[in-house]
Symmetry: C2
Subunit: 203 residues, 2 copies
Amino acid sequence: MKASKKPTIAAESDRAIDIYTKAAEIFHEQGFDATSMSSIAAAVDLTKAGLYYYIESKEDLLHAIVNYAMEGLETRVIEPSRGIADPTERLKSIIERHARLLTEGNKAITILTDEVEALKPKHRKQILDRKRVYFDFVRDTLDELKRAGRLRDVNTTAATFSLFGSLLWLPRWYRPDGALTIDQIIQAITDIACGGLLVDGAN
Amino acid sequence: MKASKKPTIAAESDRAIDIYTKAAEIFHEQGFDATSMSSIAAAVDLTKAGLYYYIESKEDLLHAIVNYAMEGLETRVIEPSRGIADPTERLKSIIERHARLLTEGNKAITILTDEVEALKPKHRKQILDRKRVYFDFVRDTLDELKRAGRLRDVNTTAATFSLFGSLLWLPRWYRPDGALTIDQIIQAITDIACGGLLVDGAN
DNA sequence: GGATTTACTAACCGGACGGTCGGTAGAATT
DNA sequence: AATTCTACCGACCGTCCGGTTAGTAAATCC
């Protein structure tokens, strides 16, 4: 006896998760629009009709993937960092956790940044709202540092976007078999961000 | 008597440039794959057949746009910055010029980062090679700072990618009518980058 | 052991897509 | 005045796409 009859987004069958994972990979490689449903079906050893047994539509599949990715962001980056009292440590935790999530191989997270415009307006708004919560969380951390006199004289909105840029660019250039380890990269991004944001001797 | 019979990429007719500009806007809004040739044709008051009088294929159109964008990057960011002797000033020039190019309204430059994978392998390689020259130019500047003892102990490859991330993320969030002016943003990105990269008192 | 449900497939559909073709009005050339 | 060239258009083509339908073998339930 497994989960309920009406599967919420978290309680899907193994096969469905398999499909999401594979679809995320292909969307990541080829882009959402350039990917055909038949090719996804073939990648999970189904016919297109068989694939449609599990999903409602192509957009529905994308939505499921993006929701899954958003949940990963929330449980693996936001929630563990929220409890950290010291804002500098909190910031470092966000950077490290987000960087690891972006590079560990699950492609769903990259679709979260690259293919959201392909969602229908209602779904897109849902995701954008949740992203906004994350953005505010990071900016609030910078604001907290500012109030404590530990931040350089820099606009926190621009600084937050700048940091996101550094992080979200990561999956586009990081190669697991490359010269740089993920720990080295996290070190570099953290050093640059903290060095550029914090007043000297505050960290 | 205008240019030659075989128009090089720089010597196109006014109408062709009009088409490239409009197409770049639509590609930017909807993505390359999601954009139909008929919709581009309609946007420039042509039928699809009329549009094909000017271009060879959809990919050819993308290639022309991306080439045009690459030329802008070279003439407006790389070349003016190359002559600057002091590496810190050179770095600041790169950041400011690139940021302005990315936000001044010409959408071709954003297609240069978002739609290169839609090019055919040969064309894609051409563009990637030219991007590589830019990357090396920036990293060489950081290496020069390092040799002069003016750079913190940070990996210059990771630092260059991190900077590119901050810059290339800009067009995704910058709003010309928003609260932050482009000068404020350039200030912030420059401050963070320099503060995070340079040893104190070196700039 | 019959009925129902699960997990599919082969075949198909309407439509949109990139691209082409034959033609043509009008300007420029000879 | 006849010819050629430029800048298009209407109609069309084959292909592929997202999605559907009718059916079915095997497992599950009663």
